[in-house]
Symmetry: C2
Subunit: 203 residues, 2 copies
């Protein structure tokens, strides 16, 4: 009898988990401002999340404070899922209502992670919130990578969202610097060199 | 002096790592046969890899043999990178030269992971090879998820690559069953139910 109950529970668990995973497919249709490095089109949030997870696997040794790389990977895999409901919020947008956006993202997290079995839903919500708050070494490093990746894509694509939005070298420093430096001063040094090079060639 | 040497080495390390990460951007342009669940377009290998990493985070409890979920995530994040040079090899293709494909993928792994600093290149090559060989519990489970995801996408998209290629219910069992069952009999049971339902509605 116990075995029968366990089997039923496991089938129901899998059913909820697969429904969640198929809902995630929608993140592939959330389009970001950043182009691909080859400029063929704009990037979507699912492939962006994969790219960031690779950044974490490759670059964790440079984190300002020692991090668990696998935990950084988890935070980055999950961090944009709320965009399925709340959309992407571009770095260079002005006049967005921050409080309204936060409410929309919170509601999105509760709806989407809420598709999972309750205990797993709680764990995933906590990971998403850890990234948002940005206080653990892993969250700070994850946030640094989330700024570093579009910075590099923009320099490789010859300007990208900076050219489109008329963003200056000083504004790049203000909008990317604090987050990247907060996670890794070594990576900020490398990034700043690429930014200088970019603006020296377009000037 | 020692400090000076370390700094030089660290900058060079970062330079190689960022070059590798920007090369990875190309995986976003490798197009697979599988559609998105909403049928709007075909999936690319970068977003597919993100989706699979989420499958691993969500479903690891169902692995036939106990797995380190973080290790499964790593294998899946890396497993398709060779496609940047070697292209995607569809499940339902016939007449592919398996030995030639393996040589191409091996060469791709050596070139692409070889962009990294030597020690890290070795580690990543070993992870890629672990997935290919498919003998560790983590690799077997990763391979199961790599078959489960397109199966679910096909059923959600109302047929997908099965309809395009005239694939029968029996052929789905042959081409997906062994890999999925090898990683998780519980997940195969759930998948097989969806396959039966799909073919009962299209018949
Ligand atoms: Ca694959």
């Amino acid at each position: 009898m116990q075995e029968f109950t366990d089997t039923m529970t496991s089938a129901e668990t899998i059913h909820q988990q697969l429904a969640f995973l198929m809902e995630l497919d929608r993140l592939k249709s959330v389009i970001r401002q950043s182009p691909l490095a080859n400029r063929s089109r704009r990037e979507n949030s699912a492939e962006h999340s994969w790219h960031l997870a690779m950044f974490a696997l490759v670059l964790s040794e440079h984190a300002e404070r020692r991090v668990d790389a696998a935990h950084v990977v988890k935070l980055l895999l999950l961090h944009d899922i709320v965009e399925i409901d709340a959309g992407d919020s571009p770095i260079h947008a002005s006049g967005t209502d921050k409080a309204a956006l936060e409410r929309a993202e919170r509601a999105a997290a509760e709806r989407i992670f809420g598709l999972l079995p309750p205990e797993q839903a709680e764990r995933f919500l906590a990971l998403w919130w850890e990234f948002e708050v940005g206080e653990t070494p892993e969250a700070r490093f994850a946030k640094a990578l989330d700024r570093l990746q579009p910075l590099l894509v923009n320099t490789h694509a010859g300007g990208g969202t900076w050219t489109e939005n008329g963003v200056t070298e000083a504004q790049v420093g203000e909008r990317y610097g604090p987050a990247i430096r907060g996670g890794s001063s070594a990576l900020w040094e490398a990034a700043a060199a690429q930014v200088r090079l970019h603006f020296s060639t377009v000037a």
